[in-house]
């Protein structure tokens, strides 16, 4: 596994953040995890939450709609502590969709109190490399850092567990 990210710079505060991973798998297998209901539900979201996909249209412009549901006791407690519902519907779409090569996933962020709806884009590029597949995820950090910071703090305990559990995988 390899990981890298681009640090923020003073002259580019909304610089993209890039996270790169290499998995011992075929590109097609990675692609499935992003573009099928079962695949997406199997990993999306933080530990302690599950995702229930209502619509996933695997094509350019196709809809992605799902509920993010806190289902572990500590995740439920964390959301309550943050004053947030334990489940919320999320809408998005696949803006770009080039099978086994690239997709972009646009989420509509419309659940932040006091902040009007805006779109958040995730770019994913896939590269085959021998018996491995490389995945490059490019993120555009959310516009409201306070929200994400709050979420990050709420999920910290779950992240610690994840680090231990999956630390050796990649």
């Amino acid at each position: 596994m390899s990981t890298m990210s681009t640090p923020v710079a003073a002259d580019a505060p909304q610089a993209k953040m890039v996270i790169e991973r290499t998995y011992r798998a075929r590109v097609e297998e990675l692609w499935e995890l992003w573009t099928t209901k079962a695949g997406f539900e199997s990993w999306w979201g933080p530990e302690g939450f599950r995702v229930e996909v209502h619509a996933l249209e695997p094509r350019a412009g196709g809809a992605l709609e799902y509920d993010m549901i806190a289902d572990a006791a500590d995740a439920i407690a964390a959301m309550k502590r943050l004053g947030q519902p334990v489940s919320h519907g999320t809408r998005g779409r696949f803006a770009e969709f080039k099978p086994f090569e690239r997709l972009t996933l646009v989420h509509v962020i419309d659940f932040i109190p006091g902040v009007g709806p805006y779109e958040s884009t995730i770019e994913v590029d896939f590269h085959a490399s021998g018996d491995h597949a490389r995945m490059v995820v490019t993120l555009h950090p959310h516009r409201d850092p306070h929200w994400t910071k709050m979420s990050a703090e709420g999920f910290r305990s779950q992240l610690t567990k994840l680090d231990k559990r999956f630390g050796g995988l990649g």
Binding site: M1, T3, S5, P7, V8, A10, D11, A12, P13, Q14, M17, I19, R21, Y23, R24, A25, E29, L30, E32, L33, G39, S42, W43, W44, G45, P46, E47, M135, V137, L139, P141, H142, R143, D144, P145, H146, T148, K149, S151, A152, E153, F155, Q158, L159, L162, D163, R165, F166, G167, G168, L169, G170
Partner: protein
């Protein structure tokens, strides 16, 4: 209303002003020259940067000198580190899901990764 750090730095003119201040404190005239911004708008941008905590100002005779403050940059950096951790964890989960599916299919013998 005070902007959050991202909003404060979202404006390209304000980013040029920040860039112009990277080498130390400067009066408005030098900021205008270095950043290539209009004199007419620079006061408003400096006020926003000041209110957002990015810039400090102190009198120096007839002039006012502006300088960068490190705190909001540290805050941005810390926030981004947290954001990155969330995604690292999410991709750990992606890797685990991948392993699980491969195991279920039995197409490839699952090998423990380092």
């Amino acid at each position: 209303m005070q902007m959050n750090p991202f909003e404060a730095l979202a404006d390209p003119t304000r980013r040029r002003i920040v860039e112009a201040l990277r080498c130390g404190e400067r009066p408005v005239g030098e900021i205008v020259d270095r950043a290539g911004v209009r004199q007419s708008g620079v006061s408003r941008h400096l006020r926003i940067l000041h209110e957002s905590g990015f810039v400090s100002v102190r009198p120096d005779g007839q002039r006012r000198l502006y300088a960068l403050r490190p705190e909001p940059f540290r805050e941005l950096d810390a926030w981004l580190a947290g954001y990155r951790r969330l995604w690292e964890a999410r991709l750990d989960r992606f890797g685990a899901a991948l392993e699980e599916r491969r195991g279920d299919r039995g197409a490839t013998k699952k090998e423990p990764r380092k």
